[in-house]
């Protein structure tokens, strides 16, 4: 995959995560809203797939997902605050 599809996948994870951030606080105060619960399930599934794909191709976003093969890849740059990923 080229840089463009990486950016696209990364942006997709950002958007899906934000949907879940906002849904999370809504569900904290509306724990039985079935429509919101169904939406959560739907988004969660897509996000999991996107994160899995991104992690496999470009490295870990979440420290529990670090794929340990020949080296520890977690602390390899760039870091998010550098504005490069």
């Amino acid at each position: 995959m080229d840089g463009k599809s990486r950016d696209k996948l990364f942006a997709c994870i950002g958007a899906l995560s934000f949907v879940m951030d906002d849904l999370r606080i809504y569900l904290d105060t509306h724990p039985r809203d079935q429509e919101a619960l169904d939406y959560w399930k739907k988004v969660e599934k897509v996000r999991n797939e996107a994160v899995k794909e991104y992690t496999k191709c470009y490295g870990p976003i979440n420290m529990y997902d670090v794929d340990v093969d020949d080296r520890w890849t977690w602390a390899e740059g760039p870091w998010p605050w550098e504005g490069r990923c």
């Binding site: 995560s17 420290m63 977690w74 602390a75 390899e76 740059g77 870091w79 998010p80 605050w81």
Partner: protein, 202 residues
């Protein structure tokens, strides 16, 4: 971006209240060598840490410090939970109680409010890492001071865990300092600030 895990890094289960001890331990929440200062110190410093591995270490240790802050708060909370007005007076807790009831508020044992002046973010890797190593030692000393006053095993165990983490962090920061120095002129580590671009082009 951060996400929260619904667990403590090490369990805190205290059954005996002790408001006097809580006022001492609260220093590791909002005091000069406390966990709030530690987390903000490392998480503020990481932006200008030139070596990406060390920037990662600051992120991970800074994150762990937030979990330690949570443990310290859990200890203070469980030591002051359900206090009666009589226990508040007998435990010398009335001055804290009058402003915060039984809520958690970052202050030192002496009542000094948390302030960002408890830590420094200097934008120079050697300066910052030396501060970080000193900070871990100061926190370790504070936990030693606390442990001399604690006789309750339920309080002792999580405090001992936190003390040990200061030692591990000190070791890691020492290694980070060596990694930074490996990239510099060993005859003059302080010739320039590796995080300040204008110095590098000289």
């Amino acid at each position: 971006m951060w996400s929260y895990e619904k667990r403590l890094q090490y369990p805190v289960k205290i059954t005996q209240c002790n408001p006097r001890l809580a006022q001492v331990i609260i220093s590791q929440f909002g005091g000069p060598d406390g966990e709030l200062a530690a987390s903000q110190r490392y998480l503020s410093q990481r932006y200008t840490m030139s070596n990406p591995k060390v920037a990662g270490l600051l992120t991970d240790i800074g994150t762990e410090e937030m979990a330690h802050m949570e443990m310290v708060c859990a200890i203070v909370h469980q030591l002051t939970r359900d206090l009666t007005p009589q226990q508040i007076m007998e435990g010398g807790f009335e001055k804290y109680y009058v402003d915060h009831t039984l809520g958690l508020w970052p202050q030192s044992a002496g009542g000094v409010p948390f302030t960002a002046t408890f830590f420094q973010s200097k934008g120079d890797p050697i300066t910052d890492l030396v501060e970080d190593m000193a900070a871990e030692q100061k926190a370790r000393t504070t936990y030693d001071n606390i442990l001399r006053l604690v006789h309750d095993q339920e309080v002792c165990e999580p405090i001992k865990f936190l003390r040990q983490r200061e030692i591990n962090h000190f070791q890691r920061f020492g290694e980070a300092l060596r990694m930074i120095q490996d990239d510099l002129d060993c005859r003059n580590f302080y010739a320039f600030n590796p995080s300040f671009k204008s110095d590098l082009v000289k």
